[in-house]
């Protein structure tokens, strides 16, 4: 959906056509839900957060600047709600879940090559995804959100900078640091389970 269409829909909603808002919900429900899910690791929480994000953005719609992308704005609201949720619940994604063995996701150079091969097989890919999700849940929320936005959501560094308020270089540094930490967590897990 382009920015002009978004702006038209927002204008319709602001003029009293509430049902038009369904078009925006329909368009963006998947990425918002996916973001919430990746951050919380819980489908019920993700559903609640995504709903709250859309309700919150509706309530604040009069503040929305039509010159900006609705998607970026919505993401910012969603992230704020997710942060508040994580603060309230005081738990990290998947903390309750025990980390699985990460032998397959090993980190040495030779193992990396093996990993690349294993990524190609569907069964081990699924397992790797789950293992990585577990480790991601151990990252601090601020680093986790940047990694989720960049890699799970596929957003550009520029878009992430817009959403989070950091400069592009700061986003890159933090994403890099997040990946390093992620690797560290995986290494620890390999060591402890080995």
């Amino acid at each position: 959906m382009d920015q002009k269409t978004e702006a038209d829909i927002v204008a319709r909603v602001l003029n009293g056509d509430r049902q038009a808002y369904a078009l925006l919900v329909q368009e963006y429900k998947n990425p918002v839900y996916n973001l919430a899910y990746r951050m919380t690791g819980n489908p019920e929480d993700a559903e609640d957060i995504a709903q709250e994000a859309f309700l919150s953005s509706f309530r604040q719609l009069s503040r929305y600047d039509l010159k900006r992308s609705f998607f970026t704005w919505l993401y910012t609201i969603s992230l704020n709600i997710i942060r508040n949720h994580l603060k309230k619940t005081g738990r990290r994604q998947n903390d309750s879940r025990p980390l699985r063995s990460l032998h397959d996701a090993a980190v040495s150079d030779t193992e990396k090559a093996a990993l690349q091969d294993s990524v190609n097989s569907d069964g081990s890919r699924k397992e790797l995804e789950e293992q990585l999700e577990s480790c991601l849940g151990r990252l601090s929320p601020d680093l986790r959100e940047l990694i989720v936005l960049r890699f799970y959501q596929g957003l550009s560094f520029e878009a992430i900078a817009d959403i989070t308020g950091f400069s592009q270089s700061a986003v890159k540094m933090r994403v890099y640091r997040g990946l390093e930490k992620l690797r560290e967590i995986m290494q620890k897990n390999v060591t402890s389970s080995g």
Partner: protein, 201 residues
């Protein structure tokens, strides 16, 4: 700042590839209808919403855009500067007639102007330094400013009964309250340059 970028990303390629190709999670099929149902249960109850509904064009035209951190701080500094000048003018130029020489209220007005100037300047500095953190404090400060104007106006009504002083009181109070309202709008529209810092979830 970020040297050998490609090389640095490449060392994490094994991880990022998994994340990039991970399945996109989707909400339940009735998600949209659920949101719309909850939406219809909500009623716009805020006074501003009701006023906006009555005067949609005027409201959207006048204060539809967001106010950035610098703009918001500027409004506070400007208003503070107004009271600073007013305070000095009253302090240096106000020659009270003999009948009012003991009027505590009128002789307090220069100091009152300077107090307001200091408070507004403080709000301006707070917004400028870190609007995200201080915005609630600034909102409270704006309310305090309005409250001080009202209290000062009432005290003027009770203590001074001369027409000239009453006229000054009315003008001072109305100007102050209109300014407080506009500052309040600016605070509500506060939206720093980067989107993330602005939207309150």
């Amino acid at each position: 700042m970020f040297k050998n970028e490609d090389e640095k990303w490449r060392q994490f390629r094994d991880l990022t590839e998994i994340m990039e190709n991970a399945e996109q999670k989707r909400p339940a099929d009735d998600f949209t209808s659920g949101v719309m149902a909850r939406l219809s249960e909500e009623k716009e109850t805020s006074m501003l919403s009701n006023i906006r509904r009555l005067f949609p064009t005027i409201m959207n035209f006048s204060f539809g855009d967001s106010v950035t951190r610098t703009e918001c701080a500027f409004y506070f500094f400007l208003t503070g500067f107004f009271y600073l000048v007013l305070g000095f003018i009253l302090m240096l130029g106000l020659r009270l007639p003999a009948v009012l020489i003991n009027s505590g209220w009128l002789s307090f007005q220069p100091a009152f102007g300077l107090i307001l100037a200091a408070e507004l300047a403080l709000m301006g500095i707070a917004v400028y330094k870190d609007g995200d953190i201080s915005i609630r404090f600034v909102r409270a400060g704006t309310l305090l400013y309005a409250a001080l104007i009202i209290i000062n106006g009432f005290m003027g009504v009770f203590f001074v009964r001369l027409p000239m002083a009453a006229f000054f009181n009315v003008i001072f109070s109305i100007t102050g309250l209109v300014t407080a309202f506009l500052l309040g709008l600016a605070v509500n529209r506060y939206y720093p340059k980067n989107i993330s810092q602005e939207v309150r979830g």
